[in-house]
Subunit: 461 residues, 3 copies
């Protein structure tokens, strides 16, 4: 997709032998269909298929990677249209004026890829070029070729997964699937499992109400199972768990019942709330053993670090920060019970990259149920991907990885993100070939499998 | 400055495309003025401008990077002149006899840079060459060109900051500034803020006495403010905080007053001493919001690990050791109160490099008040610098960094250290260019800004 | 040793300048004698010198690196002959069918090295070639050239150390030494020092019984000393300590006596058991000061993570997992007492690579008694070795490292493992040369010393 300004060999290794091999590996997979087994694009984007509003709302306002670094550079969030209806052209000009601050970042790279690859705009974004680029995007957005479904087809997306509330009716997914778009929901129950979440009591009440379940722990579990079944019936392949720490616990039934009543009544302190979350993560694994849903664990983020920002602008506005994470002791109760199940698939995602070589690769290199999640969030960038491959491959090879996951709510960035991963993996494989560690034929098979057989296998697509 | 033996392309990437770009980037900045916004050279070195005593005292005795590795190799510290008046020529011979042990170290690199760059001595340091090199240095030190001020000018230092006790009168700084040397003090109050410091009570008493403040918490705060004002009046731009952990706390006034009286009376246990330190770090931020001083936080070092060595040779003798560090929860009270202030500048330094990608880049990529400190101490070396850039840039770009900081008490190593950083950054930027991630023009602007606009902006120079 | 298919430059850097220098450095040391100062090959393998049974039992069954990843891929351990007498040819076919899963792993690399280097089999292992390769190995194993002692000589092993129980009589070692094989025992007392170990009481009883020592702490210490002396008399140079955490404590005699009686009587809770282990690690250092045995500390592994697997297949079956580790505070009591001893040698091994730059290099760069252990277990692989050198060298140089340690129970993999380290080190040194950081002459000396003077010095060989 890139035009003439972008280097066709971008992100590939710079040594001539490795670059040439990497180019060959990349070219094998550059145009392969996109499997996106985890992301945050809303299904309604495609079911409604409305034209995108304007460049700012499309590319800036909702992209907290972009707004956070501008905020860090002294631009107030409201000047970027976050929670306001700032003039989109002014927002775009602000981005352009600060664009040099994104040099070397993943966000900067993606946006340039989108401008070039999606819109065919190769000109550098500067204060001077801002208006012309803005107008260029506006013109294109007005055409049918830039509607969401047209882009979905042009991007070559075979499967797109969304992330949804357990009580969603999933009507848009059903409608899309009837029309041949494989858009699959993901069951994300955090707010029903975490007693410290805002409105936990109300959420559980709504869950029980929706499934006509009694207010007992058994009723609660059965309500969750009912809703998971609803997701499975709508094509879901996975659940998603955003947890501050990857902690699990294995309580007996009566303890769990008592704990449930306590957390619901607001009688449980922080420690018992934590225990409840830990027990529920294990319960989710139990249900996955039964209904086959792949379990994604996204662990180790301090959410909403800035209270002022949360109160003014809401969550997902750029102030979620990674914390030190460890999986080995915390996951053990779950693994003791279900870790050896071969049909259970649990994918571990981390933003603490120290865990890659120390814990995640060693764990996934033993337990058949565990898979290594692709580099996530702050680590979803070329150098971080190279560190990731280096950290996990020598212990666990390529076949215990999840394949790439874009994890994005920025629909237009999907091709750029997958392309980045394909280039990074081609580069890593090429290095192994030039270092005489694997044959070219092996590298070719792995390059193919990384974008196809591996994610299909892990996510049961 | 290097003579013929040193490779003019040293530290630059070895691939030919990247090397040639890196060389161009490096050459742009190689001779730019040195801004040194954090360091430990005493102002008296320049105000007195005495000839340096001898090669050992100049280059060995006070350099704990050098003496620590010799000590680790079995050489007693007293044989190196630490706390003794060992024969300087013998000290030098000892260094030379062990010189192969420094191959690959930052210290070894710097000393060779100093010999070549400052003294024009390109010969390899060995047991055989030791005496001739020693004599060569002695000869040069006897000339006016090797006095501190002459070197200051020759090194092209525009700004040099020192680190000073809050009660220092700063006379030498004033004298130097009158003569046109921009030598600026830094306010380092650790021993007045940490109840576990030796002589804390005496220190606070002296502080209160010097400012005629009452023995109340309010008086104590006001005494600190008074002394900060004295520093500001003498050109200070920053404060420095060497803390074992980056912990902050936000106490109300009466709790703070009671705690102050307790720590002063020696009634506070370890937990309450820790709370006091945490509250005082937040108070320092509050004062910085008022007086504009940039706050440097150097966190995560276990000081004086060897009691025997401390007792015999004193502090700063090579046995300070990094410990696991985390910033996210500990800094939060401070950030909740002041993190969104755009005129507050806090620079975070770490010797736990896991925090670069996990915490510091994500934090500084959101909070306008936070900046990413350059690689510090054990991380102030070419490979570690490359890891640092790789770890932080994809999240936070180049413009939330502090620019290079030499942090040294070894005056003669200042050019070598800045040169190392300039080469390392040229190499990193060149890689981004050859990988098609940024344009050459962008790299050139960044290379320039890293040695000029960025440190000037962060440190308000 | 490699045949024609293997790239003679494998693992060397791919840039042409660095590769040519690296090749020269590698060739200096490629055929140097192997010093193996820490490993797990049983002495009886050589004293009995029996023919190896079959390819599966030789290369697969006991190699938990290999079986763990197959297990993670869904192959049950019993199908691999772990704890069963599965048909060795079927085991071999299973490995071959999954061989693509080992691409990029250290284990995959080693096995291919063994097939090529030891057996001269260059053909790729696939489902198709499995039987022919199996038969090829069987044929060779039947010849005298493939008996253990013949291979010992062919591999060029000068010293091989084993790891042994304190109560072993070490007869096989004595016999081998009489015949000129330098096979040395290592004193590994974990099960006598850790009150939480299975059968701790029985173990201590046996220890006291074997040395006719009274059931007092003094008797217990003296029993350990007696057995250490037995090891010294049989050529031992080292002790080995596999500890979950590198914790030490310094108790006074009466506290230690009371604690000993409590742990022996099963009256001590987890905290006091931990204290006992910590005190005993310090006691081991004390004894090392006296008898000169080098102390290897292998820290930071959660042993036997899967209870089901432990119960069915026993320990060392692939489910030991690294955990976050820190040395600075935990080792301090030991270092306060013995850290400055110059004849005490303590080698620190970690599987948490964050400790390399943060703790181990800084500690070993100051304390004369401390040495940096070679990358261990999950980190014993080319990329991890490169990260290791990068992490430690700039602080501590090359001469505070331990030299390479194969740590293996897979006798046939010894040459491949040492060769990997020699190639990795040649590559790292070549990079320093091409970056102008060390001279070629310095690199040559270091390359030589890394395989000879350094391990001889650290391990007192």
């Amino acid at each position: 997709m890139p035009g003439q300004r972008r280097d066709p060999d971008r992100l590939l290794p710079t040594g001539s032998a490795a670059r040439s091999i990497a180019r060959g590996l990349y070219e094998r997979v550059a145009d392969r269909a996109i499997l996106s087994p985890h992301g945050h694009v809303p299904a309604t984007l495609l079911s409604e298929d409305a034209a995108f509003p304007d460049p700012a709302r499309l590319l800036v306002v909702g992209d907290h990677y972009l707004t956070r670094l501008l905020h860090a550079s002294g631009v107030p969030l409201d000047a970027l249209g976050v929670g306001t209806d700032a003039d989109p052209r002014e927002v775009w000009r602000t981005v352009a004026a600060h664009w040099h601050r994104f040099a070397g970042t993943a966000t900067g790279y993606w946006l340039e890829e989108e401008l070039a690859g999606v819109f065919g705009i190769e000109e550098e974004l500067t204060a001077t070029s801002a208006d012309a680029i803005y107008d260029g995007i506006v013109t294109r957005l007005a055409t049918p070729e830039f509607r969401p479904r047209a882009l979905f087809r042009r991007f070559g997306i075979e499967v797109l997964t969304t992330t949804d509330d357990p009580l969603d009716d999933l009507g848009p997914h059903a409608a899309l699937q009837r029309e041949g778009y494989r858009v699959l929901p993901t069951f994300r129950p955090d707010r029903y499992l975490d007693p410290s979440a805002a409105d936990f009591g109300t959420n559980v009440e709504a869950l029980l109400g929706a499934t006509a379940a009694p207010t007992t722990f058994t009723g609660y579990l059965s309500a969750l199972q009912t809703r998971r079944r609803h997701f499975v019936e709508h094509g879901a392949v996975a659940t998603d768990h955003g947890v501050a720490e990857p902690l699990t616990a294995d309580l007996d039934t009566s303890d769990a019942e008592a704990l449930f009543q306590d957390v619901l009544a607001g009688r449980a302190g922080a420690d018992r709330q934590r225990l409840f979350r830990a027990h529920m993560l294990l319960q989710m694994a139990r249900m996955s053993v039964e209904d086959g849903l792949v379990m994604c664990i996204h662990a180790g983020v301090f959410r909403n670090h800035s209270t002022t920002t949360l109160e003014r602008f809401g969550p997902d506005t750029g102030h979620d920060i990674p914390v030190p994470t460890t999986f080995v002791a915390g996951l053990r109760p779950l693994l003791e019970r279900y870790g050896l199940e071969r049909d259970l698939h649990i994918v571990l995602f981390t933003v603490d990259e120290t865990t890659f070589s120390r814990e995640i690769a060693p764990l996934a290199g033993f337990y058949p149920s565990l898979y290594i999640g692709a580099p996530w969030w702050f680590l979803d960038a070329p150098d971080a991907m190279a560190r990731f491959r280096s950290a996990v491959t020598e212990t666990a090879g390529f076949y215990k990885g999840s394949g790439f996951i874009d994890d994005t709510r920025a629909f237009l960035s999907i091709p750029a993100r997958h392309d980045t991963a394909r280039r990074a993996d081609a580069g890593y494989l090429a290095r192994l070939v030039t270092e005489g560690r694997i044959t070219l034929a092996a590298a070719e098979r792995i390059a193919d499998d990384l974008v196809d057989a591996i994610p299909r296998g892990v996510f049961k697509l």
